[in-house]
Symmetry: D2
């Protein structure tokens, strides 16, 4: 992985990393404050994990990849955690079965918090004293930095997982406070034209900052045909028009695999026909479950929790298509700075928000609000090499049957996202804050 | 259902029922004392329920079948509980899906305890004041009595369910303290002969007490051929001999359906081949998970957690067979009084114990220790009628593809069992304390 | 198994067995005459087998259990058939997987017919010359007799299996010619009372003939309470009343397991709601697929292809219950002789027929037309012993989660049935000609 | 779709199309000559179809898309075939369920042959007389041409499907005669370097002939980095080295989804561990089932029937990677002409053959022998438009979770393939003749 701009020699860099460590780790704990120990135990499907597991696994990451390697006289906090909180790193050894994470009531939430506190102290100690088993301070800084980005990824998953779990509770508990939407009006869709051509694509340290995952590199030439991109995300109101036009009942709008999915997916059906995940009711009164509780579906708010299949069918219905990740990134790189404020997890709305001003020629919501499905498969860039060592299992081994999403969401920490960032999920995944922006050929 | 011997007119009977109510309800709470709120959240399979759900459902039973009917100006504690804690009573209305009971983190354990306390007070109030919506005090007493037997049934399930859930924790948490087994020696199997003949079978108030479930009646004539019954339960040591003799590998010992099961049941296989549920290790060192934690398999202890298939195969291997429930009950009725002390939940061992004295001509362990699989299907007795009203869904609708077990176990409250008591489970169920006693033709 | 009345010494007995062999074997071939080689290849579910497989397996039975044992210098027709056509005899060795029987296009139907012819000749040769490897002519006669009853069982399965397979063909091919029903009127249900008492139950050579399966023995005393039995089978017209009364929508009529089944069983649902297997259309125009093709549902014809769940729910709806197999047999034994003519496979209607005369005090349709579900589980009789040797896998190992049916059907050869005959299927099985007769307590 | 070079005005073109029609249609019938009617009935998995179904569906295609549209006074051969032999065209209407195609014994093979003959005559009549309902002879020629390419695609599927079905037969029937391999020696792998750059990619009528599927267009610019491509396909011998090196047991070689697959795929496991599909035995004696019957695994023969997962894992083990489809096509376009003879279905070997001469600087086996997995997902080319009308369901709707294969195989008709041809299958598909060629970065 790319190093932070320099290594640890300079006290200021140590201090910066130490502060960042403190801040990011603390933020995870802030996110679980609205949750009880019982809430933190919930696992509603194999793809989701209990909040307690996230808290522990994130700590396991630092313990296993940093302390075990760098700490002199390393002793594990609890030897059994090595298996229990390993997610999928075959290089580390055995893993506790993923679908059973919700069955671990002990250690308690309290013990996991003690685990976090101890590992935090030991990491800070490593940073402060500089006394490490190996004298590779550069790599130490790299791994801590990676761990913090890893932590931020799981902060988003923690939110989407608890939302999924809470949706099974007939009382539909609210995780966060209601966000006021009064006085926001619909913005029309404008089309921004891009000339394309042979462009450089992928992580660019000059523009994207000090860190990237291995899957964003290497930067490489790509030829892109001219295209147009919509000025904002597709809204709930537009999705309601799709539903009203029998979009869920017309096979010609769907991929073959999507059509099979739409007829069998359990979470997709309601007594009123197929609806997006977390929606209920009918055309006279759609409501959707959010982290703010059960609310009326707002027409101007970006639609989210769409599967790739739904996003693709919507785009076809709208006479458009999904953008490629190359188009998306090219468009994002041409946005004037500053692109913010955007609706990230820092906002604590935890739901997409409507476009609030006309945009003045700049696409809105490119970052934040909802991840944008692209039609690009999650493939290695030419010349891609996974990181060496166990952390190399981070990205490359998942490059199959997944589609790339871009731009971050209302559940993404703002400091985690960048233009070259590639998120990826299988086409039937719905529980992320996944929406879409339309594109079309010129 | 049979009434308690009299109704509520006499103060002494009211007082007796009130005290029994207090005692039985309290006992459920005693059983969850070793558990945390997180433990009480666990559901490890659709057949098992979280301890918190048991606590709530038992209270729902009194609220729905007693308070709602008898309390003047009845108001529910929480209207949503009517669905959330309905187990399977279609007559009451909708039910929250059983496999998702573990996804209800809210209400919290604390709120459920408050629910219990309030309903307890209201039931006691009904009993004390005698002010009821209907003047049918006889039925009120009946329903409270039924509710208490229902509560005791779930006390056993609460224990077997938490054992199942804890077994997924690699740390194998102990629920109870270790029970000392030193100085106990093996007792030989003796065979007790019974002449059979045309006998009366089923609940007999004179012998079995004031209460029975509807499925134990009516008492009716049954013809039984002469048979012999073993003097004790089959032990772990005998099961080890079966394993060593390749019992799990020989199709001729198994029912066809059992042979399919033994080759596919996930919980049944270990790296060392098929073993009884909760066993691990190999012939040099078998260990089994108990509510006392992970312990060495003790040779003299009755084997338990057998499926019907395993019990049946063991019996065939031993050149014997399982008894019918008619044989078992006939034998149990001929035991000299007192038959106790026996190893019930009251003992707090929560695991079967070895036979400790020679028996002196009386079969040991007929009551307590482990439920005994019989070869009898769970069928209605001739002339069987389910109770009227919603509580009629209690037993009759489950009379299909289940086998009868007799005698109670180490997890059964002593005051809950009687000679005519019929427990029932499908032939592949293993998570109850189910063992066997051999029978043979004369 | 019980021997034929005498052994082979007497020429007349040899001749009788030889003729019976010729006749029964020939009948199987008559049954496949309406079928093409392609038809004979069909397997529509794991429980059903291709007609070609039946033809071969029946021959395998004689080759394996008779020729291999008795023929001097035995050589198999084709060594690979030993595995390919073994149904479920673990004692014989490996078995080709049951769900894949439809994937065996070679050997061809023609080759299987040659296989039959050769084995027929060799069996006849054994009988004629009396030159056998072992001098146990008694056992030889027993095994050939068993093989012929086995053949007759499969004649029925061949019919029910091809019916099931043809039902997937949108053209709904007719296997047999249409049977005229004009001029038949509905017969009222009368109730025949039986006093019950302590009676002898099970195979009785004096009354039931020379042969029985092991599961019909030993004859033993059973106590039966007084009961009443309906004078005929339940009809399609009565089933239509059940449907019209929302019988498939009312949980209180169903066993819990049946209610689950009725809501999930794929073959059970139509666009018009739940219907019996092979029914289609709606109340104005029900049609059902029969071996005579697609016909109007006739009101007076006995209903068939019911699962146990449906039979049980219907009986509950009708305020009655299913009889036990003990009641059924007791009633059948008290019928005046002759009980025939009845509607067996010999009739070549291959569908139940309406009761045609008033009965004159004798229950109609006790034998033939449709198998009658009883509420009795398929359990061993007291003192039951499976036959020794590999043929002992015939019955005993299936005694689990099955219910007993009595009386034979329109697909049963007449010479195959007897009063003590016990058929058995799991409660969700529908593809046999299974109906019901009501019983009630006195 | 691109038109044949001209339309039907000229008699010579009519005559050419008519002859091609005769020839291609006849070839399908030649392919079923080794099969019996019973063989033609087999369906071994939902993804495979009976040979009889292929024969009928191919005729349905001409009847539905050509005759129904162009024939004056069109009458269907059999109205029920419209549903029965519709594969997946929602625009045409209902479809008979795919997994049940093997349950259609009637119409018989003979009737389907009559169906073919009649439709053939009617198509030839249309071509000869030119009397059509619409005067669009250009489109008529297009659709017949499409139908013939469709026919050739199914010729390959017919072979792979019957191979799959025959593999379930313990006798392992041979479809074709044995091909002699004596005297062929191993050829070393050479690496051919390509400079890449911005190149034109996709169907090029000048080079690729008169016809292409819609998914090969439009031709568009792609930037390709320099790369090297192996001179031949990976062989069985190399696969054996992978197996011997524990390739199937090392998670680091596999995609995460592939690793899950390798541990659960039923067809993949043998008693000797994981092996490629159709292999059996162990390292001392591997044999594999081919259309020539069960043969020894030949070291020099290209390995085939690999899933994408296996091809990808092998490439990683070999320190290389799979090529992209862009690299493959670029390399194929630079091959000197003539590239043939190659091993296509025309050869009637129906199995890949070893490289037979050194190649003289030209990659061997680019066309024929085995399809080559590429790392490219099956995605639309920029500007892709599906064909208008019902035939537009041909390709686009399958662009999800599939990978592109290139080059054709030993089961592909030679006249069907071209450099721009894109085949596609999901990553777990094994039953096609799918192998791989290695690529690497420069």
């Amino acid at each position: 992985m790319p190093a932070p701009k320099s290594a640890l020699h300079a006290d200021s860099l140590v201090s910066e990393l130490s502060q960042r460590f403190e801040k990011v780790r603390r933020q995870t704990e802030v996110l679980v404050e609205p949750l009880t120990a019982e809430d933190c135990q919930l696992q509603s499907m194999p793809d989701a994990s209990p909040a307690k597991w996230h808290l522990a696994h994130l700590t396991w990451f630092f313990e296993t990849f940093v302390l075990e390697r760098f700490e002199p006289k390393f002793e594990p906090f609890n030897a059994s955690f090595r298996v229990l909180y390993n997610s999928y790193y075959n290089g580390v050894g055995d893993k506790y079965p993923r679908p059973q994470r919700g069955l671990i009531s002990r250690p308690s939430l309290q013990e996991i918090m003690a685990y976090r506190a101890q590992v935090n102290d030991r990491i800070q100690n490593l940073l402060t004293t500089g006394k490490t088993r190996q004298d590779n301070h550069h790599e130490l800084a790299q791994l801590i930095t990676l761990g913090l980005h890893h932590e931020q990824q799981h902060q988003e998953l923690l939110l989407t997982d608890i939302k999924h779990a809470f949706s099974f509770n007939p009382e539909r508990p609210a995780y966060a406070k209601r966000w006021p939407l009064a006085g926001i009006h619909q913005q029309p869709v404008l089309w921004h034209r891009h000339a394309g051509g042979l462009v450089s694509h992928g992580f660019d340290a000059a523009q994207d900052g000090a860190f990237s995952f291995d899957n964003e590199a290497p930067r490489h030439p790509v030829y892109i045909a001219p295209f147009e991109l919509a000025s904002r995300l597709v809204t709930n109101g537009e999705m309601m028009a799709f539903i009203a036009d029998q979009g869920y009942q017309r096979p010609e709008l769907w991929l073959s695999m999507g059509w099979d999915w739409v007829q069998t997916a359990v979470t997709h059906h309601t007594d009123q026909g197929s609806l997006p995940l977390y929606w209920q009711g009918d055309a006279r009164d759609y409501r959707n479950f959010t982290l703010q509780g059960l609310v009326d579906v707002d027409s101007n708010t970006p639609v989210c929790h769409l599967s790739y299949f739904e996003a693709d069918a919507f785009a076809r219905w709208a006479g458009a298509r999904l953008p490629t990740e190359f188009e998306w990134e090219l468009a994002a790189r041409t946005l004037p700075v500053p692109r913010l404020p955007a609706n990230f997890a820092d906002n604590a709305a935890f739901h997409p928000l409507p476009q609030q001003d006309p945009g003045h020629g700049v696409p809105a919501q490119m970052l934040g609000d909802a991840w944008e499905w692209t039609q690009s498969n999650y493939n290695p860039y030419p010349g891609y090499k996974p990181w060496p060592g166990p952390v190399g299992e981070y990205n490359g081994k998942f490059m199959c049957n997944q589609f790339v999403l871009r731009g971050g969401s209302c559940a993404t920490p703002q400091s985690h996202i960048r233009t070259s960032y590639r998120n990826f999920f299988p086409p039937d995944a719905q529980w992320q804050f996944s929406g879409l922006r339309l594109a079309r050929d010129v």
